[in-house]
Amino acid sequence: MFETLAKSLPQLLEGLQTTLGLTILSLILGTLLGILLAAIRVYGRFPLPYLVMIYERVFRGIPLIVIFFLIYFGLSLQLGIGLDAFTAAIFGLGLRSAAYQAQIFRSAINSIPEGQMIAAKSLGMSKLESIQYIIIPQMLRLSIPGWSNEFTIVLKDTSIAFSIGVIEIMRQGRYIYVRNPDLTLYVLLLIGLIYFILVFSANKGLSYLEKKYKISGFEIGTER
């Protein structure tokens, strides 16, 4: 049994590569877009904040699998944009994640006292400069706890990408236990363990960052 499991490990690791690639790329897209959306939502001029709000509502309201199908099949059927499955999955996960991350970032922005913006302006900074140099650095530090949740969600939701044909770790696992039905339980446990290690270590790292970059005098209550 262990021999067969060990033999199929390379196959699982190949799937893991896809899973990680998908997670990282869609998080980059989601974070950049999320920051932009949050800034527009708080500081943008009419009608931009409302457009962003609609975007957030829509992408938070649609199940991920529907987003995948819309991007992968819908775009190619109706508009002739034929993305490959992996790219479509990055856009699906990234665009949805941006909607959630925009909320995380917006609440972080709102927790920064408004006086800072006024102070920055009084020092001669433009609005964009104050957002860039005063607001965003603080916002990023404040949003680490919420963001680490989003990381785990995106990581685990990559498995849904198989519906459009991305062969990630869960699918590779299925190949193995279809071949060896006796191993089903062990293969699934192994996959669970791999996910757990990833999430656990990433969260550890992020909470280290959170402590390292905490803003003095900005903690809510004492350390718990």
Partner: protein, 266 residues
């Protein structure tokens, strides 16, 4: 103020260009001569992934052979079964080979080739063993006539399911009269010994037919389940479908076909 506007314009331009570059790089280019076969590789022995990570199986080998005869290059893609038809319609794949039963519902969305596999079951016995079966088309008469026999089947197959559902669950047959085997070969060995061991085997028709090539065995009954597997192509892709059908016609029943059945079903 002007500086701020400039920055904003730059941002917007970047936001527009980056996805455009990304998109243009990822759009798949289609080679006229390449056919992408869509399957759901978790249905052994029709399609599954072997130790080397390659998609193999009865369907895959058959469709590859047919397409290569037509001078196409073949790429096999694994997609969730429920996404196969949308993928075909969105031109992500060109043909479905996934042990897909031909149903009216699916016929409305895609076109099917001629059936290449009959998912019917059959009864295989030893010739001259004196086993009597009422081969009438009335299913009740038939089931009653085999209820007293010792019947063999391969574990977890539709054959075993059929015996459980129609004979054991209905109380017609004792559980101990159903002998389950891990390998068909073992069941056949017991059948060859005779009624002392086994009276009949219930198994997939094409497999039974292969075994019945031996003059000592015969297929005495086909249990019609009404399920046929077909290859799926896009609706209106008629010239392609005709070519596939012609190839299928030629292939089914040939020696290569028999070899393929032996390879994957025994």
């Amino acid at each position: 103020m002007i500086k701020e506007k400039k920055k904003l314009v730059m941002l917007v331009i970047i936001a527009m260009i980056v996805p455009a570059i990304l998109l243009s790089g990822c759009v798949e280019e289609k080679d006229e001569n390449k056919i992408i076969v869509g399957t759901s590789a978790d249905f052994p022995p029709f399609e599954y992934v072997d130790e080397t990570g390659k998609i193999v199986g009865f369907d895959i080998e058959m469709v590859t052979r047919i397409l290569e005869n037509l001078n196409y290059t073949v790429e096999v893609k694994d997609i969730a079964f429920e996404s196969l038809i949308p993928s075909l319609q969105a031109k992500k794949i060109d043909i479905i080979a996934a042990g897909m039963s031909i149903t009216e519902e699916r016929e409305e969305e895609i076109d099917f080739s001629e059936p290449y596999y009959q998912a019917d079951l059959s009864v295989l016995i030893k010739k001259g063993s004196g086993v009597e079966i009422n081969a009438s088309h009335d299913l009740d008469n038939f089931t009653a006539s085999i209820a007293n026999l010792t019947i063999g089947a391969q574990r977890t197959t539709t054959g075993a399911d059929w015996v459980k559902e129609h004979l054991i669950d209905t109380g017609l047959m004792d559980n101990e009269n159903l002998k389950l085997y891990d390998l068909y070969i073992d069941a056949i060995a017991d059948l060859d010994i005779g009624p002392a061991r086994l009276d009949a085997i219930i198994l997939d028709l094409p497999v039974a037919q292969t075994f019945a090539e031996d003059p000592d065995r015969e297929v005495v009954y086909t249990i019609i389940t009404g399920e046929y597997y077909g290859l799926g192509v896009r609706e209106g892709d008629t010239t392609f479908l005709e070519k596939i059908n012609a190839q299928l016609d030629e292939f089914i029943g040939s020696d290569d076909w028999a070899a393929l059945i032996t390879k994957y079903f025994e």
